[in-house]
Amino acid sequence: MSQIREFKGRVVTPGTVSAEALVSHGGLNTLASFQKALQFGDKTATCGDQNNPDLYGKQMLGKALCLPQTIGSTTGGLVLYCACAMERQPACMLFSKPIDSLAAAGAILADVWVDNVKMPVVDCLGDEFLDYVKDGMTITLKDDGVVVVEG
């Protein structure tokens, strides 16, 4: 019988969604993760970051991406924006820590400048959230920043 737990975070960009969890325990290097998918027409957004053993080779499109923060190049925000504009984005991004400036930029750029594509983002979910959530669990994100994890 599956268990249900709730975590409360802060809404960075609003929205509701239900999706399968994909978990990165290390920081997401946005450029390294999305570059190959965006450059070479991979519509499922397979993660190309060889330095991220949690995500490498896994499909990011449509997943509830659970992570501590993003790292790497200051192109990170615009890469995330491109992923959204090309409809290759995760269903939502759920940060255990306060969001970093690059991820925030990507999420906000997508929210303001991309029509008809939503990628809600919630941060400050806490270390316990990232310890608990596992790949394949079902995530339901509510519009007040509550994340329901089932699995």
Binding site: L31, Q39, Q50
Partner: protein, 426 residues
């Protein structure tokens, strides 16, 4: 966030829908970090990170075109990161085809967009815009809307300017609006150190390794570094600024450091000393053994770990004039000791177009050419970021290049041996 009447009017659409979206982006960006107000951008010039006409970035070009079409451009001119291609850099026919016809097929189009948006000069393409020769050098206390992590950390730390680690696109939007949300490194509180780094090495630490160690430890926090003035002195001369350029880039790529203070050396540390350190700051002691541990932790991701290097890149971030001159002497000396006339691995020294122009005016340029070393304005990181080049065994003494690509790091001394004498991989 409390906006001025003018800012609120822009947000409400008084200057058009596109300008309203620019302001909305900045307001949301500030809200995410608890900013209470906007502050004016006060630097003379801006610096953008997005210099490459990568086909995958079509949505960025579309957004830029929206800005241009709406006449929403900045009065502030800008420099931008290095170009991704240069015919001077060795590449086989297949690589050239991939670069020009597929990966960077939008390069000319994007460069035209940059000119429409306010590019400082036709060749203002470098990650080291703060070099005197380039001329985009902000003053202490000025507020910037820059991106490019290595330039931001240098401007904050060495020049005492104030800038957050902005993403591409956010950089130009702050410049267009003429204001940025006040949070993080723009505030006095945000510039205080939560880490003390004690340097206890027996020799001058390798800039790249030291920066890497600190970046990995403190991540996005501000470190206050003690004991480094023993090796660097207390004046920001050319050699020290060059060291700090490479050191800072490593802190920003292996971590997310946007500002560091060095006791008795960097401007705010000289003025405020220990008052910059937060109560309860954590301590990280670095000795020679710790740097060796960090060096050994770097993964070798070449397919064949003992492959012979096919290319050497120096200059990520771009080399300074002082660095080009001193390396000319080092390469000459290394070749003489090895009994060789030319470097034994194709070697590219990268620097800004403006610095390369000045270098060409010196006798060192001809001397360096005689060693076989090639100079280029390219971004080595962009050169490496494709499957073809990623398979090549490339060596570098840049920790940033190592971090983002498959290139393999060696210390400066080891690189010198490799390119002048040759030798098996470590």
């Amino acid at each position: 966030m409390i906006l001025t009447k003018e800012q609120q009017a822009i947000l409400d659409g008084e200057k058009g829908e596109t300008m309203a979206k620019v302001m909305k982006t900045l307001v949301m960006y500030g809200d995410a970090f608890g900013a209470e107000r906007m502050v004016p951008v006060t630097s003379k010039y801006n610096h953008l990170v997005t210099s490459f006409g990568l086909k995958m970035m079509t949505p960025v070009f579309d957004l830029m075109q929206q800005l241009i079409d709406a006449g929403v451009v900045s009065e502030q001119k800008f420099s931008v990161d290095p170009r991704p291609i240069d015919k001077n850099v060795p590449a086989n026919p297949l690589q050239k085809l991939i670069f020009n016809k597929f990966m960077y097929s939008k390069q000319d189009f994007y460069e035209d967009q940059l000119k429409s948006l306010g590019l400082l000069e036709d060749d203002a393409f470098t990650c080291t815009c703060y070099m005197d020769e380039v001329g985009n050098k902000p003053k202490k206390g000025e507020v910037l809307s820059w991106a490019e992590s290595s330039a931001v950390v240098y401007a904050n730390s060495v020049l005492g300017a104030r800038c957050n680690r902005n993403s591409g696109i956010i950089d130009i939007m702050g410049s267009i609006a003429g204001c940025v949300p006040e949070f993080g490194l723009l505030t006095d509180e945000g510039r205080k150190a939560t880490w003390i780094i004690e340097i206890k090495t027996e020799k001058k630490p390798e800039a790249q390794l030291l920066g890497s160690a600190i970046g990995m430890k403190v991540m996005e926090a501000v470190p206050y570094i003690k004991g480094l003035d023993k090796w660097l002195g207390t004046e920001l001369d050319d050699a020290t600024c060059t060291y700090l350029k490479d050191f800072g880039a490593a802190t920003a790529s292996n971590g997310a450091v946007g500002l560091y203070h060095i006791e008795n050396l960097t401007p705010e540390a000289k003025e405020q000393g220990d008052a910059l350190i937060c109560e309860g700051a954590q301590v990280y002691v670095i000795d020679d053994a710790e740097l060796e541990r960090v060096y050994k932790s770097y993964p070798v991701i070449w397919k064949k770990a003992d492959a012979s290097p096919k290319l050497c890149f120096m200059g990520c971030p771009h080399m300074s004039l002082e660095q080009l001159k001193s390396w000319t002497e080092r390469v000459e000396k290394g070749l003489a000791e090895a009994g060789n006339k030319k470097v034994v691995i194709p070697t590219v020294f990268t620097s800004s177009p403006a610095v390369l122009r000045e270098f060409e005016k010196t006798p060192y340029a001809e001397r360096l050419r005689a060693t076989g070393v090639i100079t280029s304005y390219i971004c080595p990181l962009m050169y490496m970021n494709n499957p073809l080049c990623a398979k090549m065994p490339v060596i570098t003494s840049s920790n940033k290049l190592r971090t983002y690509t498959t290139s393999r790091y060696y210390t400066d001394d080891e690189i010198l041996v490799q390119i002048t004498k040759g030798g098996a991989a470590k």
